[in-house]
């Protein structure tokens, strides 16, 4: 018996938490009229790290984008509660202020806008939202320097235009750096490992691990189990056909690595 198979009978059942950070119930989403998510259920408790795995086109990135509130995804059914509030009702920036962070699969370039300027605006917007005082230049710089170390980035990085001319690794490190600065309650990392060499992967994973805490939850969306060697998840879910078809611990990821997604999909259709 493998670890995942014991989770099989109740794969759509809630995963036992009193206070969920995130609760997704029967979520159905279409893009351009095409159904992508078909009744997805997921609960994430405080401090937990969940990995969402699945083959290309299974809806992983859709899930990440729906949580962050990107346009172009139509929720046709179901609900997403974040800290017991209706997340789907909130504008993207409100979600950010409430503590939802998305590390982008393809971080966007913004010519002429300094990295540090975007961060300062974002951080202070969230602070205003929480009724906190905006950070002055000195305190802000102090915080920035401390967080830069986490992802081993040089200070000159701050003054370059957002992601412009960054290497793939630099872009992903920049995402984790922003996460460190914004200190979210829920971080969704969308394919953060893609395009990284092993050294960059270690730095990125080190950054994420340093940010793990009892009151911060992480959803890792990934195609490969490699990332999970460095960021060890509490739970692993397999997404196929727009639903979570298997849930388990990190052993599930290893099985997937050994046997491929075809095995899950075949199993899924066999039971259906």
């Amino acid at each position: 018996m493998t670890a995942w198979s014991s989770a099989l009978p109740e794969f759509n059942a809630p995963i036992f938490f009193e206070n969920n950070m995130l609760k997704i119930s029967d979520l159905k989403v279409t893009v351009d009229g095409k159904a992508i998510l078909n009744g997805l259920n997921l609960e994430v408790g405080p401090g937990e790290v969940h990995a969402i795995m699945g083959p290309n086109g299974s809806g992983k990135s859709t899930l990440a984008n729906v949580i962050a509130g990107r346009d172009g995804y139509e929720v046709t059914d179901g609900s997403v509660a974040f800290m017991e509030n209706d997340l789907l009702e909130m504008a993207p920036e409100e979600r950010a202020h409430e503590g939802v962070f998305l590390a982008f699969q393809y971080p966007v370039e913004i010519p002429g806008v300094a990295n540090i300027a975007l961060l300062k605006e974002g951080l202070n917007a969230a602070r205003r939202h929480r009724g906190e005082k905006e950070l002055d230049a000195l305190d802000f710089l102090k915080l920035v320097r401390e967080k830069l170390k986490l992802v081993e980035m040089k200070e000159e990085f701050l003054y370059r235009s957002v992601n412009e001319g960054f290497s793939g690794g630099e872009k992903k490190r920049n995402e984790i750096f922003q996460m460190a600065m914004l200190e979210p309650r829920l971080a969704v990392l969308d394919e953060t490992d893609s395009g990284l060499d092993i050294d960059a992967l270690k730095i990125v994973a080190g950054g994420v691990n340093a940010l793990r805490s009892e009151d911060r939850s992480v959803i890792l969306v990934t195609h490969y189990q490699r990332l999970l060697d460095y960021i060890v998840p509490d739970y692993v879910h397999v997404l196929a056909g727009g639903r979570i078809v298997r849930s388990g611990d990190k052993g599930l990821a290893l099985d997937l690595e050994a046997r491929g997604y075809g095995w899950i999909e075949a199993g899924d259709s066999a039971t259906a």
Binding site: A68, A91, P92, E121
Partner: protein, 482 residues
């Protein structure tokens, strides 16, 4: 705006009572333009005879000229006989008594720009009390300039006190018959600024029309003349980020710059005239002729402009590079939102040897705005070793606006080096979403992205102006997305 339209209607409809040729006490001329109007204007200002002659000659030329039709702008024909060419500044009793009587939308914008209360009153044309009129800062300012020998005064004052300078330079860069609107301006200009910086003097402060606050009502035909004598330097700021309303729809200003050997003139403009409502009704038509001449070797003229206002902008700040090794620069941000139309750019005319010019143009179109860059780089036969670099970038927001680029290059000397780069991009949904995911509101995100796009131009502006211009851009784009 309604009151302004109404007042204009009243003025136009008013029956003419006095014989205006002799009565220079008249407050307002009835609509219409003929030689007697020009004589009246000249008499009103007690101008020297040579100015009157010059005006009349311009008027005769103008009558034979056709309105330019080549610009990429569309508007109803302008009836030049329906315009009143003189209107005295409003008397205090006709002005709003306090800010409470001013359009609240205007006040809201002032507040967003962080304009102090007293300044708001001045901008909105509120009758100000005597205490504010004698602003001490203006006095200090004048003393400092006098000490340096810099002349900075209304053009009419210069005609009276420095006629020799005016006679030598007025119309020497933009001749009276240069183009339709310049000819009209030469005939009927009412006021403007005059600057003379003597040899070797670095003007101790940035000169700004703001300090000529008493001359706010210079009206629609403004004329500015700036002369930087050998080895001198001056930086001049024109305009204001605060939205300016005016009951005159047509504005046709002329600006002439003369930079002698080793002199440098830096001319910065922020133009935010009323653009009209969302359907373009009531906006200002801004037809401006701006040109500078680098008269001596190593002279430098730099134009920086941020154009966010007016219903129609038609404007090509240019440089005649006459002296060897002289330098011309043009940095421009032009924004069109709603129904605004802009046809703007520059002309760089290389005449001397080893002259160089740089053109950086950033056009932003939103709403149904139409934005055209029109630029000419001309290298004459004798301009050995001329160099030009042009970069024209357009940013589109939404799918109902337009960006157009019309670069003209005429090269008569084979040693010239001309480079031209052009890009067009859209504000991406993905850029906006990225910023919002980091916590920025949609409007802040747009503002940040657009300001990033304009960075190369903003860094040419004096610091304070740049900060204001950034805010202004954000405000001008409010509601442009979503």
């Amino acid at each position: 705006m309604n009151t302004a339209v109404k007042e204009l209607g009243e003025l136009v409809g008013r029956e003419y009572k006095e014989g205006f040729v002799t009565d220079i006490e008249a407050e307002t001329l009835p609509p219409g333009l003929d030689e007697s109007v020009i004589r009246f204007l000249s008499a009103k200002k007690s101008e020297p005879d040579f100015i009157l002659e010059w005006r009349l000659e311009a008027f005769r030329r103008w009558q034979q000229m056709d309105k330019p039709e080549w610009a990429h702008v569309h508007h109803d024909p302008i009836d030049f006989q329906a315009i009143s060419y003189y209107s005295a500044p409003k008397r205090d009793e006709d002005r709003p008594k306090s800010l409470d009587e001013v359009d609240p939308k205007l006040i809201e914008t002032y507040n967003k720009l962080g304009i102090p209360l007293e300044e708001q009153k001045a901008l909105a044309g509120v009758a100000v009390d005597a205490v504010f009129d004698s602003v001490s800062v203006t006095t200090t300012f004048k003393d400092k300039l006098a000490e340096a020998g810099v002349i900075f005064c209304p053009l009419s004052e210069a005609m009276a006190n420095h006629p020799e300078l005016v006679r030598e330079y007025l119309g020497s860069v933009v001749p009276a018959s240069d183009n339709f609107y310049a000819a009209l301006n030469s005939a009927v200009f009412t006021e403007g600024s005059f600057v003379y910086v003597p040899k070797g003097v670095r003007c101790p402060m940035e000169l700004s029309t703001y300090f000529r606050i008493n001359a706010l009502n210079t009206g629609q035909f403004e004329r500015t003349l700036i002369i930087a004598d050998e080895g001198s330097y001056v930086s001049y700021l024109e305009g204001c980020t605060a939205p300016m309303r005016d009951e005159n729809q047509l504005h046709a200003a002329v600006v002439e710059l003369v930079a002698m050997k080793d002199a440098e003139i830096k001319y910065s403009t922020v133009q935010n005239w009323y653009p009209g409502d969302e359907d373009g009704r009531g906006g200002i038509y801004n037809f401006v002729t701006k040109r500078g001449a680098c008269r001596g070797d190593n002279a430098k003229i730099s134009w920086t402009q941020v154009e966010t206002g007016s219903a129609i902008t038609w404007k090509y700040p240019s440089v005649l590079l006459e002296g060897d090794h002289s330098i011309g620069e043009f940095y421009s941000v032009a924004l069109t939102n709603n129904c605004q139309q802009a046809d703007t750019g520059t002309k760089m005319v290389h005449i001397g040897e080893n002259t160089s010019s740089t053109i950086i143009s950033k056009g932003i179109s939103a709403g149904r705005g139409q934005n055209a860059y029109r630029g000419l780089v001309k290298v004459l036969k004798g301009a050995k070793g001329a160099r030009n670099y042009s970069q024209c970038d357009s940013l589109l927001m939404g799918d109902r606006c337009g960006a157009h680029t019309f670069p003209y290059v005429e090269v008569k000397n084979p040693t010239a080096t001309i480079e031209h780069e052009a890009t067009t991009s859209k504000i991406g949904e993905d850029q906006l979403f990225y910023c919002r995911q980091r916590g920025l509101s949609e409007e802040d995100a747009v503002s940040m992205i657009v300001n990033g796009f304009c960075k190369e131009v903003f860094r040419e502006l004096p610091m304070e102006f740049a900060v204001e211009a950034q805010k202004l851009l954000g405000i001008s784009l409010e509601g442009a997305v979503g």
